[in-house]
Structures are given as structure tokens and as C-alpha cells.
Amino acid sequence: MIKIWAVTLNSFREAMRDKILYTLLFFAVLMILASVAVAQMTIGEYEKVLRDLGLTAISIFGLLIAIFVGIGLVNKEIERKTIYTIVSKPVHRWQFLVGKFLGLSATLLVQVLSMGIAFVIMLVFAEAQLSSSLLAAVWLSYTELLVITATALLFSSFSSPVLASMFTIGFTLIGKLSAGLVEFTERGEATSEGFRSFARLLYQAVPDLQTFNVRTAASYGVDVPWEYVLYGTGYALAWSAALLLLASVIFQFREFK
């Protein structure tokens, strides 16, 4: 456990001392605060737009941090050959990956909390209503980021940073669209059976990231049941574990040039 903890702490330190992280965080907070101005330009539903913009900003910037910092964490180790001194220690490769995952998860938690605090300050400043569903929405956004982090680690375990970024972005888009695609085909609007099967296959093979999207309910102030939050958390952990397991198997066979 001490070995995983060492990698976790080192990854957390590395990410927290990375300037890119603060640049992204700066723009995220700026966008959250700017949503007050944007919401004022809308006609009616001022509070709903305010909450929606804030939650979307948290989700998008969280995704950017998860993808780019996540991929960088493993690939930098390989490119700079620091991995040589880790893999040559009595550390299993899966321990290295799990440590990296936990380190980035902790970093993301700090980032999401920072953005969440900026969001709450913005809502208080705008005299908008606060509700528990906002907390549920932010938490589920965070659990979604865990799945994306595990995905980024999986792709960076065998490919270059550019390819890993493209794969992770593609995987994320499929995860966000697959539920809608299945719904579209099930309604009978798809012309071929082959396309329907393809949509169902995508839905099964990739985590359904819409599970973590309760932003619409939260922005309308509709309660999100705690059972659903629990389900979403379990779903994220199960997918993260599966993706990390696959990454570990691939990483085990990787040679470092």
C-alpha cells in the first residue's frame, strides 16, 4: 500500500505543481463568474440559465483537466524516462497505474471543489437559490471524471500522447452520445438492423456518460434522489476499475525504449 501511496502522492504533487492546471482552473472560474453576465442577457429563467452555465463549465473544464493532465501523467514518465527508475523498483506495474489514477483523482477533487466553491459564490452573489441537487450534479460530474481519467490512463498505456488524446476524446464523445443513439434507433427511426446492432454494441462497450448528467434536473431545482447518486458513483467506480484492469494488463507487456 505504501508503494501505491508513494506514486499517488508524487502524481498529486506533479499535477498540483503543473502550470497548465492553474491556467485551466483560471478560465473555469472566469467562465463560472461570467455566467452571471450571460444569464442577465436571457429572457426569463435567469436562475436556471445561471445554474446550467455554471454546472456545464465545471463539467467541461473538469473533462479538459482529466484528459490532458491524465494523459500527460503517464506519457511524461515514458518520454522523460523517469519510468525507468520506477519500473526497476519492486513495484508492480498495476500499482504504478493505480497510484497514478488515485493521484489524478485527488487532483481533480481539489479542482472540482475549487470550481464548486466559485460556483456557490457566484450563485450567492446573484441571489440565486441553492439546492442539494446542485451538490449531486457536481459530485456526479466528478465521478464522470474518474471514468475519463481511467480511460486516459488506458490509452496512454499503449499509445503516444497525441493518439491517446484523440482516443480519449473519441471515447468520451461516444460515451456521451451512445444512449441517445440507442434511443434514436429503438424508436425505429434507423433504417437498418445493422445500424441498430452497432448502436447497441457501442452502448454496451463504452460507459454511458449520460448517467452522470443530472445538470438539467439540478438547474431546474428538481431533487436528484440519493439512490441515483449512489448508483452513479458505483457505476463510475465499476467502469474505472474495469478500465484500469485492462490498462494494467496492456502496461504489463509494454517495453520502454
Partner: protein, 319 residues
């Protein structure tokens, strides 16, 4: 020799890198047999691309062998258990520049599962050994190349290893840095640590190592004690003279000077007797003798003559 006395054992170790559409496959190691005994220092030398780093990467679990076996302390390489008692410094290492020297060593100590107290004690012992005690709170990005190499050496020793593997530890260092690395290796040898290190600085290898393994084109061509390889016979004597006039020079020039300057001239004589004769004659003619230097056989001269004159195929056939 009992099995316990062998710390590193490679038997028919082979590594072939797969080719691709644009590149042919490459045999980097060809049935390498190598044993390193407990407590000895073995220098691993060979031209660039000979397979030194490949061997070390296989031993450290970074690459997988295509054939043959390799063991460290009786455990197959690649297993986590075999790395418990090993320290490793890669070639031209890059380290986490956002960590201080102390954080850096704590991190590597943790990877060996060491407790915080034992890490602290070991760090207090190692920082003075590698002479960077003054920089313990300094982030590594502010370290010079020599200091980075020294802190890298410290991480390789954090677990008090039985075997230390160093890949080109003196590469790119200034003379002071090289001397320090040499001193640390000598100190480890004194403590009974087994050391395998690759290097292009053959004078260091000759001075420090008990045995030398020479690899050319993936094949081990020689594994012998330094004293059996290098006999330190006088190969030539170089005599440098000063203050001679034109007439003297014309007489002495028959002996074919190897360096001819405005003030001084250097001759290379095949043995001490001829050198003595030249010195005697030069003194008689009023010249000054600036120096008389016997050139002895060295590992470097042996390596250059024997292994750079032949093609890799010829060397492999001889082996």
C-alpha cells in the same frame, strides 16, 4: 562456486527487436552468457549500439528477452522480488524536477516499502556520501548535471542494495563529477556491494573493476579479470627535448620525431634502452630533456586496437 555466490546470471540471453514496414528486425543480443559474482565490480564495455543498455534494460525488467534466461540473486528478472535488493541508475536520467532532493529520495525509498524513519536515516547517510547535503531542500530543476547524477546515484542506493547497476554513470560529467562517481563506486566496493556498470571511460573501468565484460554487436567477446587483459607492458617510450640547435636537430631527426614544435621535439622509441641512448646523445649535444614518459598498455589501447580494427562479424567469429 555456489549458486549463492552468483548475483547476476545470464544464459543464452537473446534480444531481437521486431522490425516494421520501414525497419528490419535487429538482433541486439546474441546468446549472451554472463555471470557476476558476489562482491565484485564488473565493467561492461563495448562500442555504441553493442547491446550494453539492452542487457541492463532486460536485467531491470524494462525489456523482455526474446530468448535465454537471466537471474538476479537467484530470482528471474522481471519478477518484483528480484528487484528488492537491486539499485539502478539509468543512462542520462531525468528526474522529477519539481521535487526537492529530500522529497525525491523519500519517494524512491517508499517504492521499496521503507518506513519513514528508515528513509530519513538512509537519506541522512546518502546525501553526504554523494556530496549534495547542502542541496537537500533545493528542487531538482535547480541542480546542475553533475548534481542530478549524484542524486540519481543516491536513489540507486536508498535500499542498501546488494547489487548496483549503473548505465554510463559518468556520461557527460566534468572531471570532478567523474571522480566523485569513481569514489562512490570504490566505497561501495569496499562495503562488499556487487556492481555492474557500463562505461565508455575505460580508464575508470580499468582502475575500479575486478573484471571486464566486452560486448560487440550483441555478443560477449571477452569476460576476464583486468589483470589478465592488461599487462601494463611498456609499448613505447616518449622523449621530449628542448633547447637544441639546427645541427642537433638534423642528427636527431633521423629518429623521426612524432611532434616537432618551435621549442620542443618529441620522439617515440620502442623501448627504454633506445630512449636512454637518445637522452644520452641529446644531453651531449646540449639539449634539455623535458620529459621521458613510458607508454604502457591500457584497457583503452587494447580495446581500440582489438575491437575497432575488426568488423563485428570478425570479432564474433574470433569469440
Amino acid at each position: 562456486m555456489s549458486a549463492d555466490d552468483v548475483v547476476v546470471r545470464c544464459e543464452n540471453l537473446t534480444k531481437r527487436y521486431r522490425g516494421s514496414l520501414l525497419r528490419r528486425s535487429h538482433l541486439a543480443l546474441d546468446s549472451l552468457n554472463l555471470e557476476v559474482k558476489r562482491g565484485e565490480v564488473v565493467g561492461y564495455i563495448g562500442p555504441n549500439g553493442a547491446g550494453k543498455t539492452t542487457t541492463i534494460k532486460i536485467l531491470m525488467g524494462l525489456h523482455k528477452a526474446s530468448g535465454g534466461t537471466a537471474e538476479i540473486l537467484g530470482q528471474p528478472v522481471g519478477s518484483v522480488a528480484c528487484r528488492e535488493r537491486v539499485g539502478y541508475l539509468p543512462e542520462r536520467p531525468y528526474f522529477y524536477n519539481y521535487l526537492t532532493a529530500e522529497e525525491f529520495l523519500h519517494f524512491y525509498g517508499s517504492l521499496y516499502g521503507m518506513s519513514a524513519a528508515s528513509r530519513r536515516a538512509k537519506i541522512d547517510e546518502l546525501l553526504p556520501l554523494v556530496k549534495i547535503e547542502h542541496a537537500r531542500k533545493l528542487p531538482l530543476r535547480k541542480f546542475s548535471k553533475g548534481m542530478l547524477q549524484r542524486v540519481g546515484l543516491a536513489q540507486a542506493l536508498i535500499n542498501s542494495p546488494d547489487l548496483v547497476v549503473l548505465d554510463e554513470p559518468s556520461s557527460g560529467l566534468d572531471p570532478m563529477g567523474r571522480m566523485l562517481i569513481r569514489d562512490v563506486i570504490a566505497e561501495l566496493k569496499r562495503r562488499g556491494v556487487t556492481i555492474l556498470f557500463s562505461s565508455h571511460i575505460l580508464s575508470d573501468v580499468e582502475d575500479i573493476c575486478d573484471r571486464v565484460a566486452i560486448i560487440v554487436a550483441g555478443k560477449l567477446v571477452k569476460l576476464a579479470a583486468v589483470r589478465d587483459l592488461v599487462h601494463h607492458n611498456v609499448r613505447a617510450v616518449e622523449v621530449t627535448l628542448e633547447n637544441f640547435n639546427e645541427a642537433n636537430l638534423s642528427t636527431l631527426s633521423e629518429r623521426n620525431p612524432i611532434l616537432l614544435g618551435a621549442e620542443r621535439v618529441t620522439f617515440s622509441l620502442p623501448d627504454q634502452a633506445e630512449a636512454n641512448a637518445l637522452v644520452k646523445e641529446a644531453l651531449k649535444r646540449g639539449a634539455h630533456v623535458a620529459s621521458v614518459v613510458p607508454r604502457r598498455e591500457s584497457l583503452e589501447s587494447l580495446f581500440v586496437e582489438k575491437y575497432t580494427a575488426q568488423t563485428p562479424e570478425e570479432i564474433r567469429t574470433d569469440a
